[in-house]
């Protein structure tokens, strides 16, 4: 069990982590999600005692990390796969860590076999690929057979087979009753691995929920409806009809309408009944990725407070241009402005 309470970290004027309160429970994989620079790594570094919180606490099993009697037997962490001395062999790297934790050398060979590095155990780890480095980092985290695991972006640099391996490994570890916290900036990865999500943006907690709940709450489906181009009054008429029928219609920058609350069939019937021609009628189920982007985009907007961006409290009729960039976002089929507009809609 990892518990953070009012966890805050400031570097000078910059607040990296801002009043985080959450619990990571045993028995499930908890995804720790947020765009790059959202404070995930800082939070993890505080959890393992590398950095001291400015205020608030974070404990492992109720105890601050630096007071754990035998830290390596309780917590295993992969924070940065490149945090090894490149001149040292993989076996010696693990051996010096095992010795430090009072763990026998036999365990070193066990974890090397477990991560599939036995054959290269004698090679300098400076020559390892990123994927091999990740495996070495995971081996180090597993050395003490710990009940709590913190893995910061463990699938970075792994090939698909390696990603599948890590995923299976983490689920297996959680199934044994361990606490597994794994950070990522990829929602798609977390959807496949995690049972529970802690989502942060700009150092603040955005969601602490199960994956299923997250999907249900944040990814309502919608229908894209397009009236003939250049026929603005048709679109306005249709929007009025749909809203009266109980739908929510939001214009998109390309002239289409984003309609929630009605099925495509009902929209088609209503349009036909009111003599509006449709050039596009496309039901769309928002992906988890979009739901996540909407959530974190909100955090970005909340922070920037640029007048042009409107702000979440007062959405304009037309979505503003996509705010700068979406850190850590992966490409998705709809433009970010649409996603941002959807985010405001769900918050309203």
């Amino acid at each position: 069990m990892i518990e953070a309470h009012g966890l805050t970290k400031r570097y000078g004027p910059r607040t990296a982590v801002d009043g985080l309160t959450f619990r990571v429970r045993p028995g499930v994989v908890t995804g720790f999600l947020g765009p790059n620079g959202s404070g995930k790594s800082t939070t993890m570094r505080m959890a393992v005692g590398l950095e001291a919180p400015t205020s608030g606490t974070v404990t492992v099993g109720g105890v601050p990390y630096r007071e754990l009697p035998n830290a390596a037997r309780t917590v295993g962490a992969l924070l940065d796969a490149r945090a090894v001395h490149g001149g040292r062999s993989a076996r010696n790297h693990l051996l010096c860590l095992a010795q430090l934790a009072g763990i026998g050398a036999r365990r070193v060979d066990e974890v090397l076999a477990l991560v599939g590095l036995s054959e290269v155990a004698g090679r300098r780890c400076g020559g390892f690929s990123l994927g091999m480095g990740q495996r070495l980092g995971i081996a180090a985290a597993l050395l003490g057979d710990p009940e709590v695991l913190l893995l910061d972006e463990p699938v970075n640099g792994l090939d698909p087979e390696g990603i599948h391996w890590v995923r299976t490994l983490m689920r297996g570890l959680a199934a044994e009753g361990r606490t597994v916290l794994v950070s990522s900036h990829l929602m798609s990865e977390m959807a496949l691995t995690a049972d529970h999500l802690v989502v942060i943006g700009r150092g603040r907690l955005l969601a602490d929920t199960s994956v299923r709940e997250f999907v249900e709450r944040h990814s309502a489906g919608f229908v894209r409806v397009r009236t003939p181009d250049g026929a603005g009054e048709q679109r306005a008429r249709l929007a009025g009809v749909l809203v009266r029928a109980g739908a929510h219609a939001e214009p998109e920058p390309d002239g289409a309408l984003r309609v929630t609350g009605l099925t495509a069939a009902r929209i088609s019937d209503l349009a036909h009944g009111h003599g509006v021609r449709l050039h596009e009628l496309a039901p769309h189920h928002a992906s988890l990725e979009e739901a996540y982007m909407r959530l974190t985009q909100g955090a970005v907007e909340y922070r920037s407070a640029a007048p042009a961006a409107g702000g979440p409290a007062a959405p304009g009729p037309w979505p503003p241009a996509a705010p700068g960039h979406a850190p850590g976002a992966v490409p998705h089929p709809y433009d970010t402005a649409a996603a941002a507009a959807g985010g405001r809609e769900s918050e309203a």
Partner: protein, 291 residues
Amino acid sequence: MAHPTPSPAGGPRADAAYGDGPSGDAAHGDGPYGRPLPESPVQEPGLRHALASEWTKIRSVPSTVWTLAVAVGAVVGIGGAAVAWSRGSTRPGDNILGLGLGGFLVGQIAVIVLGVLTVTSEYGSGMIRTTLVVCPRRTRVLTAKAAVLAGLVLVAGTASVGLFAALAVLVLGPGAGPQPAGRLLDAVAGGGLYLTVVALMSLAVGTLLRHGAGAIAAMIGFVLLPVVLGLFAGERLGPYLLRHSAVATSASLFGSGLDPDTGCWRLLATLAGLTAVLLAGAYAAAVRRDV
């Protein structure tokens, strides 16, 4: 590369079922959490384990091994060469141990590099974070580093100065006559201790600066600059700097001191005192700082 099936615990206990797996989020977390893994038979680690770990670290990296080899090679090699060239030109009563000073001064640069690298290689690579996650007791880690480094340099330093002294006595002894036992002790035991103190000071500076090149520059500056500054620092400060400089301290150990009134052991004690202050600062910084 092989992709073994995940069985994280590795041992037979991995087969035991510790829970019924993830079966929905609400089912977990609220119930009582029995520690799923058997209590480990492993004893709580202490300084002994940290010492073993640091010994593995220092011997398993080429850079530290080579640096130590250079230090030994400089003391024995350069000193030995000076001895070889002096064959036949010594007169009775000559201080033949003074021939080792050149190699000793070069060797201590390598010792500085070794002492700094012992700690900054961890900061530079980020390995320090891996280390401190495994062992959050930072004083223990630093103590182990200091102890392993000090032990290694004391043994290697004393042995290499001893080897040089044996060479000098063996080759030049017949010409120069017997050397006073006190002078041999100063050079061999004092030389070994001096290198140990310099190594520890380098470790402290490396811990404080956390940057290899910066710490090495600072330490070499500490050794060399007082000699340069001392020449231009006026009548009161100048001689003090010259007399207490690391170079002068080294020279006094080999019987070539600038000031015969200030014994080599007093100079060595001054250096050790300064090192103790720096080490105390290093401990305070290591415990307090974010890494």
